[in-house]
């Protein structure tokens, strides 16, 4: 039902051409404090959000922890191709808000719902681009889980659509909204460890050896799951439980293994520390191992080296960093900083005590709540109001995700790749261009 009160959040562009030019620049810092209301915002000031993808991440995390409890959000609609997930999400919503929200199997119907202002997308990777573009074409702002896309071509199309429609787009790389990651990158960007020469990201291996990682016989999908719709643009494959619902991450047709699962987080932080949000590596090399028995076909163990034109290399590895299985290490001439979700440490503890001066580079600050999702969602909602770019704007997400895709492409082709980071094209590699930039989609789906 169309809202009666008008402060349209699917509103007409407020800014002039000058404002548009300002939007095009790298955004400055949002005010450190926005006025916090102690009362629940009026309905007209809430953002009406639809959720596309009600799996474990969608309903267990986004809906239950980020959307329903958020006084600035009104859950407006839910969508999933698995009725079991969809109705569980709807029930949670009703139990906690008293409200029955419209439910859809087809996201194309959800995005046409008139009273929606925005969507959160928590579908598998191979659906992100189609869901997001459909939402943007219907004037909705978007929060899309990482990795942004399944392919580089999809990421480009998402950026183009966001710019075309003036969408406020947040990529779910919420580590940028966690204070210690920002702190680490600020110290690096201000040369507090000397000239940076190496970044290493440690992202773990594809799981193997568990009962659910073994081959499963093709079977009838569970009642309520539209398997053909779940596959969507991906090539047809018979249903097995370990092909979907979380486990899709380890299949090339739907995702990119650990590289896009955790790599999308840590390589994003690496890009931030490297000041490469609008550029990227110029060469990629790799070594990796694939499973010798399946069923997963993402690289299970790997080391990918990215070369930047600033003479810095980024090494993304499935191996741990010392005792730490997961994290990012920035190494400069005068020291190093290691950071992950649990901690930040440095070669010299005094590095972490350095206070930045007024002339130092300050990075986008979404807030100091230790819960990064609080800051990340707040940033998105603030930007929906102000029409500024989010901390993980679509281009940032696309560039970071491209780093991951380049790694996977190098691993798959088994060779070094040269990359024109500006226009984002391969240099002298027809196969990479024809077969890896994008993938044919099963009709009727297309970008």
């Amino acid at each position: 039902m169309k809202k009666q009160t008008l402060i349209p959040r699917r509103h007409f562009l407020k800014c002039s051409a000058g404002g548009l030019a300002a939007m095009s620049a790298i955004p400055g810092i949002l005010p450190a404090s926005t006025a916090k209301s102690t009362t629940r915002p009026a309905p007209s000031d809430r953002v009406v959000v639809g959720l596309i993808g009600c799996g474990s991440l969608g309903r267990g995390h986004h809906l239950s922890s980020c959307m329903i409890p958020n006084p600035r959000i009104e859950v407006g609609a839910l969508c999933d191709v698995d009725m079991n997930h969809l109705y569980d999400a709807a029930r949670r919503c009703k139990d906690r808000t008293g409200k029955r929200v419209p439910t859809y199997k087809d996201f194309r119907q959800l995005v046409e719902q008139k009273d929606l202002d925005a969507v959160v997308i928590a579908t598998p990777d191979h659906w992100h681009a189609l869901n997001a573009i459909a939402a943007m074409e219907n004037g909705l702002d978007v929060y899309c889980e990482k990795p942004l896309s399944l392919t580089i071509e999809e990421g480009k199309a998402m950026v183009a659509a966001a710019r075309r429609y003036g969408t406020v787009f947040q990529t779910g790389s919420m580590q940028r909204s966690q204070p210690q990651f920002r702190r680490a990158c600020e110290l690096v960007r201000n040369n507090k460890i000397g000239k940076l020469h190496t970044v290493t990201t440690h992202i773990g291996k594809v799981p193997t050896g568990r009962p659910k990682d073994q081959w499963q016989a093709p079977q009838t999908p569970p009642a309520g799951l539209d398997w053909d719709f779940w596959l969507g643009p991906a090539p047809y494959a018979d249903y097995t439980p370990n092909r979907c619902h979380y486990q899709f991450r380890w299949y090339w047709d739907y995702s990119g293994g650990k590289m896009t699962d955790w790599g999308a987080h840590h390589n994003d932080i690496a890009q931030w520390g490297l000041n490469m949000d609008h550029f990227g590596p110029i060469m990629v090399d790799s070594k990796g191992v694939y499973s010798d028995k399946g069923p997963y076909d993402a690289a299970i163990q790997f080391e990918v080296t990215y070369y930047y034109d600033t003479d810095v290399i980024l090494i993304c590895s499935s191996e741990p960093c010392g005792q730490e299985s997961n994290g990012i290490k920035f190494i400069g001439e005068d020291g190093w900083i290691f950071v992950n979700r649990r901690k930040i440490e440095a070669s010299d503890p005094d590095i972490l005590k350095i206070e930045l001066g007024p002339d130092d580079v300050r990075l986008y600050n979404t807030g100091d709540n230790p819960n990064s999702f609080v800051n990340h969602y707040k940033n998105w909602l603030d930007c929906i109001q102000t029409r500024q770019r989010c901390i993980c704007d679509v281009e940032v997400g696309h560039r970071s995700c491209t780093v991951c895709h380049l790694g996977n492409i190098s691993l798959r082709l088994g060779r070094r790749l040269k990359w024109n980071a500006g226009p984002m094209t391969f240099f002298k590699d027809q196969t990479a261009t024809d077969t890896m930039m994008g993938r044919p989609m099963r009709p009727p789906w297309h970008l």
Binding site: G288, P295, P443
Partner: protein
């Protein structure tokens, strides 16, 4: 643990393709990966210059086309006629072979793809291969495929053509946009026309935007915005301005009009 590359299989493509049909999924999986490991190194720039990928493609095509042997003394059908040879490999295996072929396909396998189009069970994967083959002859085969039955399949062909350029492609899409009997195919063609920096395409798209069909109307309005952007990005700015202004004075939704305004602002 050091990362070590797996050892390449010394089995032939023929032997490995046979294993693709194994009932044991693990064996089929390993065979698939082994074939990939053989063909992918031949696709590097240096190897392609030496055309090392060509025999790989040919071997895969041979396996796709392989038929069972029918000896004269073999069983005959009910009417006493010789049973024609059947594909040696199952549909599932042939589709896997096609998918592998997509990494290394050349014009030399176009006949194989044309044959694959004749089979309803393999034509989808044949289209997948053709999407990755960007030569003029491959494009011609795509245009031929517009005659296939089944609107969903034709939508796939249209979508593939929409990523190409050229007069022949444009002519085929224009014809499809106006003459295909299925609405979803016409819609796909209208959307594809927006990818061409051709101002005259706006006439067709604008006409579609006045359609009685709600889906065609919505798709066409979005396509118009994209066409204007295509024109803007290929230095046909004056034409882009015309299309944007036409959108603003049309019955497009406020969302598309907002996009048109944004586009005009970028041109200022």
């Amino acid at each position: 643990m050091p990362i070590t590359q797996t050892t390449k299989s010394d089995q032939t493509i023929k032997e490995l393709v046979k294993q693709l049909g194994s009932e044991k999924q693990e064996i089929a999986f390993v065979a698939y990966q082994a074939i990939l490991e053989k063909i992918l190194p031949t696709t590097s720039y240096q190897s392609r210059r030496k055309r090392e990928h060509v025999p790989m493609a040919a071997q895969l095509a041979t396996e796709f086309n392989a038929k069972t042997e029918v000896k004269p003394a073999d069983k005959k059908g009910k009417k006493g006629k010789q049973e024609p040879p059947k594909p040696l490999h199952s549909t599932a295996v042939r589709n896997k072979v096609l998918r592998l072929l997509s990494y290394t396909a050349t014009d030399g396998v176009l006949e194989t793809i044309r044959n694959a189009f004749k089979d309803l069970e393999t034509r989808q994967m044949a289209l997948y291969v053709l999407c990755r083959l960007t030569s003029d002859r491959a494009t011609d085969l795509l245009i031929e495929a517009l005659d296939q039955v089944g609107p969903t399949f034709r939508v796939g062909v249209v979508n593939a053509l929409g990523k190409r350029q050229g007069e022949k492609v444009l002519a085929a899409l224009k014809k499809t946009a106006t003459e295909d009997p299925e609405a979803q195919v016409r819609i796909a063609a209208v959307e594809a026309l927006a990818n061409f920096p051709e101002p005259a395409n706006d006439t067709i798209i604008a006409q579609a935007a006045n359609s009685d069909c709600k889906h065609m109307k919505a798709a066409a309005h979005k396509a118009r915005v994209r066409l204007a952007e295509t024109l803007r990005n290929t230095d046909k700015k004056s034409h882009a301005v015309k299309v944007y202004n036409a959108i603003l004075s049309s019955n497009a939704s406020q969302i598309q009009k907002k996009a048109a305004k944004l586009g005009l602002e970028l041109l200022e």
